[in-house]
Amino acid sequence: MSTTKFGEYGGQYVPESLMPAIEELTDAYERYVLDNEDGFTDEFRERLADFGGRPLPLQHAESLSARYDTEVYLKREDLLHGGAHKLNNALGQVLLAKYMGKERIIAETGAGQHGTATAMAAAHLDMPCEIYMGETDIRRQRPNVFRMKINGAEITPVTTGRGTLKEAISETIRDWATTVERTHYVIGSVVGPAPFPSMVRDFQSVISEEARAQSREKEGRLPDAVVACAGGGSNTMGTFANFVDDDEVGLYAVEAGGSSLSVDEEEGVAPNSASLSTGDEGVLHGARTKLLQDSDGQIMESHSVSAGLDYAGVGPELAHLVDEGRVDAVNVDDDAALEAFHRLSQDEGVIPALETAHAFGYLEEHADELGEFVVVNVSGRGDKDLETVLEETEKRDLEVAPDMSVLREVSGGGL
């Protein structure tokens, strides 16, 4: 039997109409995912390999290792089909929906990475798919919108609120509440009501399963530190899961510090997405967890230069592990993330997602505290972020930014 709670966190805070679906899902999770009924897990692993491209390398980062005088390894989730760790989970859930006899997939997306992963998985498994996406995010993640449409998904723009991930999740829950009997909601991170946080973690834990074995192969031991960015926390939990019991391995969840850690209560806006570091306990989107909220309990608009970290909540298990002292919740601001983006691109030839760049921003600031063998999860590639990076880089005076004038010259003004 799976549990719905992680300490006091987690649970199932959803409208009653969803509870039966959640019970059905719990049952399916236990049978198929935990007990490999009908060979579900075998099929999942096989598809992850053939369609997804797993296993993925743990790459020694030569320039960074020299720069920080420590052995830095990159866990290359950016090489997963679709360009981010998201497919591990999306493929697992769409496949599970098939096993459950569901006829339709819905999902929300912020950065568009979960949406594209879900659209790809749905196309691969021949499931109709509808994706909810905030209008703001549609604007700032156009390439991913294209990709979802091209994979045959329907995109429904969400116009409420600020039009980002939080609103898209609410809207997807609404759809689910209406169509729950034939629809599976593929949640995009280790958030939401149980069993989602556990299930998404299990699908993502292939990251640390591989990384743990690869660490032993490459360095003959476990790493001193494992670093991953945290939005909802799915790449984070996936990267940590198989190390949680190894007390000697430090686990660092790097949140988006945005432009500042302080908060505008009046406007209901937090200029960051650092719910683990600065949030309070509360209930959002089905789970008790750490949240960005005002003193009344209204949810704040979070902010980050990276759309995929721009979420006011965080996975309940991660909140629990932070409270337990097992995981260090840290954060990195927009500027440092952008610098890290350029540094990794130029020094290692790996263009990371802006989300991922936060993990490298932390490395830059704290490498000397992380020991002699550090694994950083490259949760995704940065192709989706190119326009944002250009814009945000132009606004700033970064040390490591490249000169982009050739684009202006050739296109004749305007990037």
Binding site: A177, V180, D296
Partner: protein, 278 residues
């Protein structure tokens, strides 16, 4: 207990509006108009920033109420200020209950929220995202402060879950007429009768909501065995239209009162029809 009494003599009409929509004063006038129109109890929404169970109509109400500055403390003051006799049920989401800090005791959480509700004269709660499984702390606080805790039974609710809710419920049971989110519909769902059948032997009154729009809907629902009807979006539409058109509060209040009369009359007609059938 106040809530069950609302259903005691005749089928109840229970309107929903969001407190503070579109302003504190107008909202007060609207609540009072609904009582004049025949409301037997009022579900008064305490607006939450993420109303995941609401359709676009009530989302709109919530946004307007939040923009008008509604907060939990202002909500309680609003209730204390209301000039109505019928019981008030606070409809909200759990995070506001969970976060609530009592202004005097400094206590935080469900107990503080229940205490302050009781002080304000509220009779009970519907917490949309709080299933019976997670309701322990609030249930205890309700017992202590003499508040009812209403649960929603969905068309999909069956078996064990029904039993668990039967154990926790008080005041009335909110029978959700159809799957999905709130919102007025053109028709009445077939699922209603089946849902009513499933809770037939519960000791609390059965109020049906989700999608009821007209007196005729109300009549059919009551004739199908409901002890009352809950109507939200059809009323909020009137508020939204009036707000959009810039109509005087009194005019909108009159329209609400008239709509309330229609719905109450429908419910009564339904009761007569049911009496004839049986």
């Amino acid at each position: 207990m106040g809530l069950e009494e609302a259903f005691a003599d005749e089928p109840a009409f229970v309107p929903y509006v969001a407190a503070g929509d579109p302003s504190i004063e107008a909202s007060k006038a609207y609540v009072e108009a609904l009582e004049r129109g025949g409301a037997d109890a009022i579900e008064l929404g305490l607006p939450f920033s993420e109303p995941i169970a609401e359709g676009s109509t009530i989302q709109g109400a919530v946004v307007r109420a939040l923009e008008a500055g509604m907060t939990p403390d202002r909500y309680f003051a609003f209730v204390e200020d209301l000039d109505v006799e019928v019981p008030i049920v606070c409809m909200t989401y759990y995070n506001l209950v969970y976060q609530y800090t009592h202004p005097e005791t400094g206590e935080q959480g469900p107990r503080a929220f229940a205490r302050r509700s009781a002080e304000a004269g509220i009779e009970g709660f519907v917490v949309v995202d709080l299933p019976a499984e997670e309701a322990g702390p609030l249930r205890e606080a309700c017992d202590e402060f003499d508040q009812d805790l209403v649960f929603i039974v969905a068309p999909t609710t069956r078996g064990d879950r029904l039993d668990r809710m039967a154990d926790h419920v008080s005041g009335y049971v909110y029978v959700q007429a159809r799957l999905g989110v709130t919102g007025a519909r053109e028709d009445v769902s077939d699922q209603t009768e089946q849902s009513l059948a499933r809770v037939a032997d519960w000791s609390v009154p059965k109020a049906v909501g989700f999608g009821i729009k007209t007196g005729e809907h109300a009549e059919r629902i009551v004739s199908a065995g409901a002890d009352g009807v809950i109507v939200g979006s059809a009323l909020v539409d009137i508020i939204a239209d009036g707000h959009a058109a810039g109509d005087p509060t009194a005019d909108v209040a009159d329209r609400l009162e008239a709509k309330a009369r229609e719905l109450k009359a429908g419910a009564l007609a339904g009761a007569r029809a049911e009496a004839e059938q049986s």
